[in-house]
């Protein structure tokens, strides 16, 4: 099992969510973060353009079975990609155990 973490633009969340649902990946967890990368984002503050050092982003976490990794990654990329700096990253880590609290099921069937 893998834990896939994606940092995406706020505005792409809806689209990524739609793509994931299309790919039958229904369970996700989403949070607000701020990020610093190559992207420069501009806001206006009393007539002055300013570039905040941290840009609001969305972090999505999805636990998947191994055979789902590729299609999850593909769905995220197709939903989050805009071909411009700031699209974000996907990180994959190993998930050793997964437990559904309600049933105490473990492992792949608990995903």
């Amino acid at each position: 099992m893998k834990l896939i973490t994606a940092i995406i633009r706020e505005v792409q969340l809806n689209k990524v969510h739609e793509e994931l649902l299309k790919a039958n990946i229904e369970r996700i967890t989403v949070g607000r973060v701020s990020g610093h990368g190559q992207q420069k984002r501009e806001e206006i503050y009393r007539g002055m353009i300013m570039a905040p050092s941290l840009i609001p982003k969305i972090k999505i976490e999805i636990a998947v079975n191994d055979d789902y990794v590729q299609r999850t990654v593909d769905a995220i990329i197709s939903g989050a990609g805009t071909n411009s700096v700031g699209d974000g990253k996907i990180f994959v880590t190993n998930l050793e155990e997964c437990i559904r609290i309600r049933t105490e099921e473990r492992g792949e069937k608990a995903i």
């Binding site: 505005v11 689209k15 701020s34 806001e43 206006i44 941290l54």
Partner: protein
């Protein structure tokens, strides 16, 4: 009484609280209350910005608030330049609107006095209505309009829809021929049922239908970002509405007190009714439902505040909440996207109030008198609906084809705040 015509047929004695006028004809007490009312109506604009701003997604909150704020800017200037003249000048062009070149930049009224108050106060009080009407309208098309297009839209809408309607309903000149025709007919609209709420609600609906739904809109998937602010806004609206209605008496006496009293009662009745309806229907009474009921009650009493009794206020408030609630259920069935229910609350509530008020008028009235007035009210409502709908459709069409009114998909997804204002409402939710 805001140039309101008392029910012509009725024998009701006209109660005027004649304060004592000084040499210059100014009653300081009435002036004081009218200054206060003007201030209170202005308070409704940020109140509305908060009410609406809390209902939209957090990426659209500033853009939505700006729809109200920008009206304070541009509509004030438009009012001073020509709006007051078009609304309260003598009829021109066969009565389409009014004109009085003295009113350009308010030049001719620097020292004039009318009804015991400086005319400036009257002009400013009325000007606030010209501000808030397009701000209400904006709720129907929230979260999907281009800021520049919106500014042009309200400017043109004010000229072509608001000013004429205001003239027709509220302007009583020295002669019938120079007065507004609905006013001359005896249509009752104490503080803006047709002029403000119906015109805003209907125009909003037309614009919403023409522009189409928000991207990905499904009834039942909206999540207000800050209902707490919406409640604050509802509170300020209630407070400001005392200026709106009681100020429309252009007095500080019995008629004022009557208007204030029924305003309070109708708001309460509307809120409690909505709470009960929702409680029975859904098992829970939501805060937003309560606030919607407050508005439904306030809207319905607006045209009626000078004429109905407390009992009538209770019935109108209750009825308005009931009808608005039904209206929202239908909207959700039909699936059109009146984003914040400008039509659902202001349009419907205004219609309920403007028509049903005839059955609760103070004093004795024969059945014939009541139904005669009923006919006049229905006529006035239909005129307002048809005129607002047709002209708005034209304006929206032209602006959409030229400057563009509907936000592009990318701008809509990114949110109005970022796309049109380059800002973020709640920096606090992100780190730092």
């Amino acid at each position: 009484m805001k140039v309101k015509l008392k029910l012509l047929l009725s024998g009701a004695a006209l109660l005027i609280s004649t304060g004592v006028f000084a040499q210059d004809g100014i009653d300081t007490g009435v002036t004081s209350w009218m200054l206060t009312s003007t201030t209170l109506v202005l308070l409704m604009v940020p109140g509305l910005a908060m009410f609406y701003g809390g209902l939209v997604g957090s990426k659209n909150v500033l853009g939505t608030m700006m729809h109200s704020f920008v009206a304070m800017g541009v509509m004030t200037l438009a009012w001073v330049l020509f709006g007051y003249s078009m609304s309260f000048g003598n009829s021109v062009l066969g009565g389409w609107f009014g004109w009085n070149s003295d009113y350009f930049l308010l030049q001719g009224i620097d020292e004039s006095v009318r009804d015991g108050i400086p005319e400036y106060v009257f002009a400013m009080f009325q000007g606030k209505f010209a501000i808030i009407t397009p701000a209400i309208l904006a709720g129907a098309i929230a979260e999907r309009v281009n800021f520049k297009g919106f500014v042009v839209f309200i400017l043109v809408w004010g000229i072509l829809v608001y000013n004429p309607l205001c003239h027709w309903v509220w302007f009583g000149g020295s002669e019938i021929s120079s007065s507004g025709f609905l006013h001359s007919m005896g249509a009752i609209d104490f503080a803006g049922g047709t002029v403000v709420h119906i015109s805003a609600g209907v125009s909003g609906l037309v614009a919403a239908l023409y522009l189409g739904k928000r991207r990905g809109y499904k009834p039942g998937h909206i999540r207000p970002s800050n209902l707490v602010m919406t409640m604050m806004g509802a509170g300020l609206l209630w407070v400001g509405w005392f200026g709106f209605n009681a100020g429309s008496s252009v007095q500080s006496g019995l008629a004022t007190a009557q208007a204030l009293t029924v305003t309070q009662i109708a708001a309460a009745a509307g809120a409690v009714a909505w709470m009960i309806i929702e409680g029975v229907h859904q098992g829970k009474a939501s805060a937003l439902g309560f606030a919607s009921g407050i508005l439904a009650g306030l809207v319905a009493i607006t045209p009626a505040a000078g004429d109905v009794t407390p009992f009538g206020a209770i019935v109108l408030g209750t009825l308005s909440s009931f009808i608005c609630y039904m209206g929202l259920l239908i909207k959700n069935k039909k699936g059109y996207d009146d984003s914040l229910d400008a039509f659902g609350i202001h349009g419907l509530g205004g219609i309920v109030g403007a028509i049903m008020l005839v059955f609760f008028m103070r004093g004795e009235h024969s059945v014939a008198e009541i139904f005669s007035q009923f006919g006049i009210q229905i006529f006035a409502v239909i005129i307002a609906i048809v005129y607002a709908a047709v002209v708005t459709l034209g304006i929206v069409f032209i602006i959409e084809k030229t400057i563009g009114l509907r936000a592009s998909e990318i701008d809509e997804m990114a949110g109005l705040d970022d796309s049109f204002h380059g800002e973020r409402g709640y920096g606090l939710v992100n780190a730092q």
